[in-house]
C-alpha cells in the first residue's frame, strides 16, 4: 500500500473528500444559476460563529457550526422576502456581521489562534470519525433531496414566478436548498477551510457552465471537476507538503481557466 494510505486520517480525508466533492457542486449549481454565488461564502463565515461558540464552550465546533449556519440560512431566506433589501446587501451584512460576532467570541476565550487557523484554511489531519459520519448522513440527505426534487429545483432556479404559477412551492424549496448548502459548508470546512469552501462550491460549476451543455450534463461535469480537484489536491498537498485547501482550490482554478479559454469564440 502506498504510504499515503497507511495513515488513518489520510484515509478519512480521502473518504470525506469524495463525499464533499460530489455534494458541494450539486448544491453549488443551484446557487450559481440564481446568481447567488456569494451565499456559499456568507454561510461559511457564519459557520465561524458556530466554531467560536464550540471552542468557547469546549463542545464539538462542527455541531454548533452546522446550527449557526442553518439558522443564518433561514434568516437570510426570510429577509429576502423584504422588498426594501437587496439580496446581495443581506449577504454582505451577514458575511461581515458574523465575522464580527465570531471575533468577539474568540476574544472572550483566549489562546485560540491555532485552532482558528485550522478552521479558516482547513486541516485534514483533524478530521475525526464523527466528522465523517455526519458528512455521510448529509451526503445521503443532499443526494435524496436533489434526486427526488430535481424538476422542482430546476424550475425554481430558472424562473421562480413561472414555477410558482405551476404550483411549485418556491419558498420552501429555496429554504431547503440554502439549508442544505449551510450544512454541507459547515461540514466541508475541515478539508478546504472556511475561507476557501465558497470557491469549491462555485468554481467547478462555473467551469462546467463554460461548455454550454444541458443543465443535467453541466451538473455531472461539475461533479467530475470537483472530484478531480479534491483528489489530486489531496495527493499533491501530501507529497509536496502543501496546504491541502489551497492546493485543491488552485487546481479548481486551473480547471476554470482552461475551461474559459477553450470555450472562447475564435
Amino acid at each position: 500500500m502506498p504510504e499515503i494510505f497507511q495513515l488513518d486520517f489520510m484515509l478519512r480525508a480521502f473518504a470525506a473528500g469524495i463525499l464533499i466533492s460530489i455534494i458541494v457542486p450539486l448544491i453549488g449549481v443551484f446557487l450559481v444559476v440564481r446568481r447567488y454565488s456569494l451565499m456559499a461564502d456568507t454561510l461559511a463565515h457564519v459557520s465561524l460563529v458556530g466554531v467560536a461558540i464550540g471552542i468557547l464552550t469546549n463542545s464539538q465546533p462542527v455541531v454548533s457550526a452546522v446550527a449557526a449556519s442553518t439558522l443564518a440560512a433561514v434568516a437570510i431566506e426570510k429577509l429576502r422576502a423584504v422588498k426594501t433589501l437587496f439580496a446581495e446587501s443581506i449577504l454582505a451584512i451577514f458575511l461581515s456581521g458574523s465575522l464580527a460576532v465570531a471575533v468577539v467570541i474568540m476574544s472572550l476565550a483566549k489562546g485560540l489562534n491555532v485552532s482558528l487557523l485550522s478552521y479558516l484554511f482547513g486541516s485534514i489531519s483533524t478530521i475525526g470519525p464523527v466528522d465523517l459520519y455526519m458528512l455521510a448522513a448529509v451526503f445521503i440527505c443532499v443526494l435524496l433531496a436533489i434526486v427526488l426534487l430535481y424538476k422542482e429545483f430546476f424550475l425554481v432556479s430558472f424562473d421562480e414566478e413561472f414555477a410558482e404559477a405551476g404550483g411549485v412551492k418556491a419558498r420552501s424549496l429555496n429554504l431547503l436548498i440554502v439549508v442544505l448548502a449551510a450544512v454541507t459548508i459547515s461540514l466541508s470546512m475541515r478539508i478546504v477551510g472556511i475561507l476557501l469552501i465558497g470557491a469549491l462550491m462555485v468554481m467547478p460549476v462555473v467551469s462546467a457552465k463554460q461548455f454550454g451543455l444541458s443543465f443535467r450534463n453541466t451538473i455531472i461535469l461539475s461533479i467530475l471537476f470537483s472530484l478531480v480537484s479534491v483528489m489530486s489536491g489531496l495527493f499533491l498537498s501530501y507529497y509536496l507538503d502543501l496546504a491541502s485547501g489551497g492546493t485543491i482550490v488552485l487546481i479548481a482554478l486551473v480547471i476554470f481557466l482552461l475551461s474559459f479559454f477553450l470555450n472562447r469564440p475564435q
Binding site: 489562546g111 461548455f211 495527493f235 507538503d241
Partner: protein
C-alpha cells in the same frame, strides 16, 4: 472543436500538469538512513535536545516543529505525521503546550510508536485565575513550562532516560552514563542561578507570556506576564495600561521579550515607560540563527541568567 473534444483537451492538459507536479514530488523521496540508531521524534526543540543529550550517538532525534516556529502555534502537515510515525518513540510535552501532539499521539500508537507525554510525570502548577473564570474549560489552566526550572529539567532528563531504557534496554549503560553527564551540567546551571540571583536589588520581572512560573517559584522571582500561558496572544489595551502603571510604580528598568514572539506590544510598553528591553528566552524552540550559532538549552539559559542579573541589579 466539439464539446467532448474540449473536455478531453482540458483533462489532458490538467493531467500533464499534475503528472509533472507528481514527478517533482516523487523525485524528492525521503532519504531513509538505515542504521541501528534508535529513531526518536520529539514535538519541539527542547525535548529533542534533552533526548539527544541522553541518547548520545545511539539515538537519532528529530523535532517535528521546525526551527523558528512556536510549538504551540504549529500544525503538522500529514507528511510530518507520517515521518513521526516511522520513529520508535514520540516524545511530547502535553499539558496544553503542544495540542497537536496530544491529538496525533493515539494515531501514532496505532502505528506501533511508543509515546511519552512528559507533563504526565509532573505536578503542574494550576492557573487559579484562569480556572476561576473559565469554569469547566480544561485548556490553558495548567502551566506546562517545566523545563524552564533547571531543577525540574533534571527530573525531566530522568524521565526521558527511563523511557529510552524501557524501549532499548540493550544500551542501558550508555543512556545512564550520558544522562548522568547532562544532569551534572543541569545541576551546575541550577547552582549558578541560585548564587547568581541570591543578592539582587529587585524581584519583579515583566515578561511577554506566562512561561516562567516554575523559574520564578524556584528562584523567588515575582513574574509579571503581559499575556497568559499560551504564547502568541495579543494583550488587550487595558492590560497594557496596567503594566505601564506597574512599571512606573515599581521603577522597573527592563522588560523582557521573546525571540519567537512578536515584540510589538512590549516595545509599545517600553516606549511608553522609557524601560529598555532584554531577551528572556522561554526555550520553546531555536531560531534558525541560534541553531547556526550552536546555541543549546544550557547556553540559552545562561544568557537568560545574565539578562536577569542585569535587570534585577544583582551583585
Amino acid at each position: 472543436m466539439t464539446t467532448a473534444k474540449k473536455i478531453a483537451v482540458l483533462f489532458i492538459i490538467l493531467g500533464v500538469m499534475i503528472a509533472a507536479a507528481a514527478y517533482v514530488a516523487l523525485k524528492r523521496k525521503p532519504e531513509t538512513v538505515k542504521n541501528d540508531r534508535l529513531a526518536v521524534s520529539a514535538s519541539f526543540y527542547t525535548i529533542a535536545h534533552f533526548i539527544e543529550k541522553t541518547g548520545g550517538d545511539k539515538v537519532i532525534v528529530e523535532s517535528v516543529t521546525p526551527p523558528g516556529v512556536e510549538s504551540h502555534e504549529f500544525e503538522p502537515t500529514p507528511r510530518d505525521i507520517k515521518k513521526a510515525s516511522s520513529a520508535r518513540l514520540f516524545a511530547f510535552m502535553g499539558g496544553g503546550f503542544d495540542p497537536w501532539a496530544e491529538r496525533i499521539a493515539p494515531e501514532l500508537q496505532n502505528q506501533g510508536v511508543a509515546t511519552l507525554e512528559l507533563t504526565d510525570s509532573f505536578e503542574l502548577i494550576e492557573d487559579e485565575e484562569e480556572a476561576a473564570h473559565e469554569e469547566g474549560h480544561d485548556h490553558g489552566t495548567k502551566d506546562p513550562h517545566i523545563w524552564l526550572d533547571p531543577a525540574l529539567a533534571v527530573r525531566m532528563t530522568g524521565v526521558i532516560r527511563d523511557k529510552l531504557i524501557e524501549i532499548d534496554p540493550a544500551r542501558q549503560d550508555e543512556y545512564m552514563e550520558n544522562s548522568a553527564q547532562f544532569i551534572k551540567d543541569l545541576e551546575r546551571l541550577d547552582h549558578d542561578y541560585r548564587t547568581g540571583l541570591s543578592n539582587c536589588a529587585k524581584k519583579d520581572i515583566i515578561v511577554a507570556h506566562d512561561a516562567f512560573r516554575y523559574l520564578g517559584a524556584r528562584y523567588n522571582l515575582n513574574i509579571i506576564p503581559i499575556t497568559g500561558i499560551t504564547s502568541g496572544e495579543e494583550p488587550s489595551p487595558r492590560r497594557m495600561a496596567e503594566i505601564t502603571r506597574l512599571i512606573k510604580e515599581k521603577g522597573i528598568q527592563y522588560i523582557f521579550t521573546e525571540p519567537l514572539a512578536s515584540p510589538a506590544a512590549l516595545q509599545a510598553v517600553a516606549r511608553e515607560t522609557g524601560a529598555k528591553t532584554l531577551v528572556l528566552n522561554p526555550v520553546e524552540g531555536l531560531t534558525a540563527g541560534e541553531e547556526k550559532a550552536g546555541k543549546g538549552y544550557i547556553s540559552i539559559m545562561r544568557d537568560n541568567l545574565d539578562n536577569l542579573r542585569k535587570a534585577l541589579e544583582c551583585r
